[in-house]
Symmetry: D2
Subunit: 371 residues, 4 copies
Amino acid sequence: MSTLGVAVIGYSFMGKAHSNAWRNVGAFHPDLPAVTQRVLVGRDASAVSAAADQFGWADSATDWRDVVTRDDVDVVDVCTPGHLHHEIALAALRAGKHVIVEKPLANTIEESLELVEAATKARAHGVRSMVGFNYRCVPALALAREVIGQGRIGEVRQVRASYLQDWLVDPDAPMTWRLRKEQAGSGVLGDLGSHVVDQVRFLLDDEIETASGRLETFVGTRPGPSGPEDVTVDDAAWALLGTARGAVVSLEVSRMAAGRKNALQLEVYGSRGSVAFDLERLNELWVDTGQGPTRVLVTEPEHPHVDAWWPPGHVLGWGDTFTTQAAGFLAAIEAGTDPAPSFEDGLAVQRVLDAIERSAAGRGTVELARS
Amino acid sequence: MSTLGVAVIGYSFMGKAHSNAWRNVGAFHPDLPAVTQRVLVGRDASAVSAAADQFGWADSATDWRDVVTRDDVDVVDVCTPGHLHHEIALAALRAGKHVIVEKPLANTIEESLELVEAATKARAHGVRSMVGFNYRCVPALALAREVIGQGRIGEVRQVRASYLQDWLVDPDAPMTWRLRKEQAGSGVLGDLGSHVVDQVRFLLDDEIETASGRLETFVGTRPGPSGPEDVTVDDAAWALLGTARGAVVSLEVSRMAAGRKNALQLEVYGSRGSVAFDLERLNELWVDTGQGPTRVLVTEPEHPHVDAWWPPGHVLGWGDTFTTQAAGFLAAIEAGTDPAPSFEDGLAVQRVLDAIERSAAGRGTVELARS
Amino acid sequence: MSTLGVAVIGYSFMGKAHSNAWRNVGAFHPDLPAVTQRVLVGRDASAVSAAADQFGWADSATDWRDVVTRDDVDVVDVCTPGHLHHEIALAALRAGKHVIVEKPLANTIEESLELVEAATKARAHGVRSMVGFNYRCVPALALAREVIGQGRIGEVRQVRASYLQDWLVDPDAPMTWRLRKEQAGSGVLGDLGSHVVDQVRFLLDDEIETASGRLETFVGTRPGPSGPEDVTVDDAAWALLGTARGAVVSLEVSRMAAGRKNALQLEVYGSRGSVAFDLERLNELWVDTGQGPTRVLVTEPEHPHVDAWWPPGHVLGWGDTFTTQAAGFLAAIEAGTDPAPSFEDGLAVQRVLDAIERSAAGRGTVELARS
Amino acid sequence: MSTLGVAVIGYSFMGKAHSNAWRNVGAFHPDLPAVTQRVLVGRDASAVSAAADQFGWADSATDWRDVVTRDDVDVVDVCTPGHLHHEIALAALRAGKHVIVEKPLANTIEESLELVEAATKARAHGVRSMVGFNYRCVPALALAREVIGQGRIGEVRQVRASYLQDWLVDPDAPMTWRLRKEQAGSGVLGDLGSHVVDQVRFLLDDEIETASGRLETFVGTRPGPSGPEDVTVDDAAWALLGTARGAVVSLEVSRMAAGRKNALQLEVYGSRGSVAFDLERLNELWVDTGQGPTRVLVTEPEHPHVDAWWPPGHVLGWGDTFTTQAAGFLAAIEAGTDPAPSFEDGLAVQRVLDAIERSAAGRGTVELARS
């Protein structure tokens, strides 16, 4: 039987994580279409060649344009910085390749709209596309969505959603491209806020309709390569979001929350109960359906995404979520269905972030336009 | 040596809590001025008489006007509903009595201003006044203030402050006076939000200068004594506050947070560390000065407000905070100093709540007027 | 209506805690027989007089013999060091007084047997007696007993029981009477182990039939008043206990467990679920009946011992457990029933501790004699 | 450059976990000797062939005897049931292959002794051997060892060590080979107790010298393939261990601890502090050096075994520990040093388990023979 050939574009942090997924997906999901790690792409020929060896790729290349049209490549997985997503994904879709784009879908709404349009066209020809919000593959969060969807906590009213890190606490931490607006687009809002917004939509199966927000840069100048340099993005962001079904979501994201390393924290309060989650304890979900908060170790075979892995109580790690994500993409290709989250989902997230930014710029509460 | 005669006005929940404080303060603070529980005041003669017997009072009365001028009464402690605070406290101050007013100071800013004015005049004659924000007497929160004040977490940038309860989760929970605007003034904003705002000012030793907010009533109609009745106050409230020194505070309060019974949660993030607290674990403070969050069981003799009580590890309860509060008031009377929180503090809290309400009514971000 | 006159013998740590209970019991339990704090007893006339003033007693005395026969004393509450329990309690019972003895019942089994015998005789004349294992009055532990008794965790198989403190971690911590065998009887085994054994019997409603144990003194010499002095009691103790119904209990107690301040920890595993408790979080019980460990904040009115206190979520403190204990004693006096834990319970605990000591001295597993 | 050829013997649970390690070790440790997944061995030709495909092996085989002498195999990794370890490992060592044996080293002390002897001889020829106690590779536990070794908690006095699971709670759970003494050797003692004993030796860098213990089978009969069948191994086990340096260790392991899924819990108390760990929260270590228990998220690059993986806060899973273990083995091969834990370590663990069993059979406290 033939296998699907995969190309990953990008070989740093996300390239490593996605490579890990492609290398392992078959071992945990033997019934899905088999994949071959064809080629890893990067600009530095010798570095990408070494990375390809390291991460298990048969080949490396420096020009993604050549790769996205290769006959032996069926899946293109875009792990570049955000400003390149649009061009690469468009080319890959047009070449008839299935495409995964690491989040965010794109840096602007215009680019996102074009990608949605391209994905829609491609879909008509059986080409699949997905945005890489890997936290949808955390078993505890997938279980939370089930619990909410089954009505076990009643009608959702109030969500507390935050994502707190602390790598910029030190005012002497140096300048990076992530702190320059022209390169990064935004600061923590886009980086972590996008995960939060996607999770809220995922957990609630609901749409954000209104947003008000605030952005703050606590450390305005940092040591740059040639002296002090202005930080032009946000260090922290806050928003209040209203959903179509009437829930209110408070969002808080920060790179300045001393002591929080990777704390994506979600609390969903409904008319009959609540669920709570903290990514620093990735394998746990707190479910309260009226008896008090119950700690569920989400490692049982009946829990979502767990059965492929280890026996109960043998916890998963952050890296494993990408393997599950790749499996979901392969399953959709095999079934001829559309994987989630779609490019439309990616666009919806971008719209919310955009509304928060506009509100923070003095526009009060912003009503989100429907696409 | 003579003792200070105390009168408490009100004998329900807060009357019980304050009575408990006066009954016990001498046993834990033998070096402070002794007190005598002179008289408990309420409108229902037989009920207040029974309550006086139960709570250790020598006498009961039905008219506070008679009581606040009694010669054997030196301290008047006002535990009535908020709309009566103003009249009683004014009368007591004018009679030269030391006055404690349970929070909130008053239901309106106008009343609060008059009370501040009266307290200022009385102060000139050695009369002491205080607002009963008892959570300032939680040892863990007093320790948090010390930790912050000593600069151990650096400059405060970001505060996450919430107070979550769930007693209104059920849409069939019946109407009460607390849900009628004309009686309660506001909903959870005034009830729990006032505690949060006071704590933020207390912990940070900083002033709130800007506020934006949102109020929400999730259950608009509840079973009343004569059929369905509209709820005219907020079930939940959110705000973003800016402080004079540049910190940003997110505030969230709710009576609809299923599974949270009394969760006053405070997280303060500074440039070098953080502290965190949850009232449901009243004896614990989490302190992170760079090594990770450390759980401090705040029961050591060197911790604030602890030495009077029990050996290390023997935890305090919610009721004990009022005893400490009474002790602080007595200490101020003895020392001839002004106890904290003052009526000015009470006013400052009311101003913030008022600004949140105005913002929620569509005024965008509100700049707080300086008094 | 007349009140019950109470005398407390002893005015240090336990005297303070029991005084607190008698001062407050009426305020929380108005329907029980009223009490009057008649007299506090201690050897140092001026110190006990000051303590009596402080703790709310009408009178003080230096000779317990005079007090236990006073006509205006109905209840004698023995808070002295353990070696005096026997003599005082015997005299009080013989004088027809209701008697509470702070744990342990006595320092030897012989004394305990005599006390049981005296209590049995007195019971025939309506005289009540009780041992002061106050942790039976912790709402969370009383709830745990209910949960187990209702069969909600099935048949109990395995119990992990420990009580860890750390006040002797420092090898330079000075000598005290508690570390001399002739005064203290034993070390941590009697002090904390007695609480653990009582709780196991209370929670399981079962009897200990076999015991094996080990005692250890980690710091053999400490600074005494006149130079280095040998520690003659145990710093830590371990035991395995077998119950009549076939459960196995592991017990571990220590004064050397760095970082544990007052950690009475109990985990009970049954054939269908489990419960867990930690005294440092006195208001919480973890209950697992098959869905995962659920955190129950034991502050609801339907929870045992809670209704007399505050609204849900308003936590109790360590000191409050003595008030509940006093209430239980008064309720038994009023009802003409025998309060628990009885002197027989106190004896049963002593037998277990004795068996552990004998096992630790090289006797292997010891079968407990039935009384 | 040539690579090391690896063969894994066994393809069920441990075979899957070790295959995962060999498939991934190069991606995270590119500077170590490269490996090739040569051959997976099992008795069922078609099943092992499918497993080989799934897990990334080039080949499969049904007779380990052929495999351990293949020229293209340099490393033999034994993942069979325990009773086969001895024969396979001996043959592999004699063939000059580096050998990893999954824990336990062997089912009897005699077999273990022979394996140690063979490993010693092989070592002289540069052949490496290791026992697979993978929990030594949990970053939090490796950090705990560092903290203890640096003296940061002082001299270790007391260890609470347990490993609790609950998969046998239900008395109707069916019979398996793991509950038959002739196949499994022992019950939970060997299965989980071996991990606990290895960890204690690893963390403390100390030797166990005395042991007393108890074994218990709570459910004596279970549904077997042909009717009720006797359970001939222990469901739970307890021990007290004494170390060469004077620490006392309490050990408790169980398959009947309702609600505990994989709770390897270790608490080490020293003369200046303590550390605590729970495998269900694999990425966390609690360190108390006198300020209170500090939660360390062990995901920083300076923490042991972390740097190869992800950025701070991106947690590892259970499966990742085997990759780290494989890396350690490769590093030792490259450096020409002996990896840990050695076969001697495996033997030492077996001796302790054997002593516990002998004690439980009525021998009182057992002194461990020195090898």
